[in-house]
Symmetry: C2
Subunit: 164 residues, 2 copies
DNA sequence: GACCAATCGTTGTCGACGTCAATGGTTGTC
DNA sequence: GACAACCATTGACGTCGACAACGATTGGTC
């Protein structure tokens, strides 16, 4: 077993939160705490859905980013995804082991290693797209279509200025 | 050092996410992933804000719940907050060490230990209320007051059916 | 042309966290 | 009075994020 874990690790069981009680006024009054809570749950759901395919949310995010850029050095992956460079190493290791991704030497800089999406990786993304949507549907279940779009837009704006 | 850590642990540095780029259409298209991301960030901000007072988000959540019920056995804390019973032990240990909380024997059932908010705990909640609001303000910075309320309402509804 | 700071990927470490099994003490039940 | 169920607690294990340190490589500077 490598130090960074394997993509076949099982996802932890989610622990449901009872948020329908009067006491919650004191706890969930904070939007920040709500975000924290739902973020945990979202990660759990994503990992559970991805588990059958042998990957986790972080791998998936990396793959989806790669699908938009056609090759990036690990340094870029670190900055864009917000993961530590050392974390990228393990993720790329896992993905490369599954032949979803490939490390290529950068022609101009031998320090860099360009990570490119392999054909199997592209297929994987196509196949798991439906599962991804299913998770989002489960999360935003109680909301109407219009409300989901509103929520998404608001979260996006919060994320945009979410730096420094 | 105990096995469950101490309330004086330092909070990790947040790693900002660059979400203002075209590639993000492929990644942040998922509301679920957005929630996951913002949840992480929210937790980091909360822990950083609480750090000066020597506690972490989980302690804070426990305190705020206690403020609404006037005493609860640890079993209830576990179910209501969604933490494992073994996690509650450590949290209450920390809070009791700071005299913010008190363990009392349950009169009818000597297995149970009722955790009640001490006077210092109440004072602590009052004092840190402003810091909590500051975090939420920082998170929802780019939103107008009306949008914040919309976001909060939507998140609350998502959280309410967030069970099982 | 040789130092030298900066950069990149990598490894190892540490603390926080979630989960689970096992235990001692206690309760209620048959 | 035996026995299953419950409560708090302890311990073990694995994941995860953040960070320091290192070898290899680069680019700038004298």
């Amino acid at each position: 077993m490598t130090a960074h874990g394997t993509p076949t690790d099982q996802a932890p069981h989610p622990r449901p939160v009872d948020a329908d009680e009067p006491w919650m006024r004191g706890l969930h009054a904070d939007t920040g705490y709500l975000l924290y809570r739902l973020g945990l749950r979202s990660g759990q759901l994503f990992n559970a859905a991805l588990q059958e395919s042998g990957l986790r949310l972080r791998h998936y995010a990396l793959l989806r980013y790669l699908a938009t850029v056609e090759g990036a050095p690990q340094r870029d992956l670190s900055e864009r995804l917000g993961y530590d460079p050392s974390a990228i190493v393990g993720l790329v290791d896992d993905l490369e082991r599954l032949h979803l991704v490939e490390r290529r030497p950068a022609p101009a800089d031998r320090r860099r290693r360009i990570v490119v999406l392999a054909e199997a990786g592209r297929t994987y993304l196509r196949d798991t797209d439906e599962a991804s949507h299913r998770v989002t549907d489960e999360l935003t279940g109680p909301l109407s279509e219009e409300e989901r779009e509103t929520l998404h837009a608001l979260l996006l704006r919060v994320a945009q200025t979410d730096r420094g």
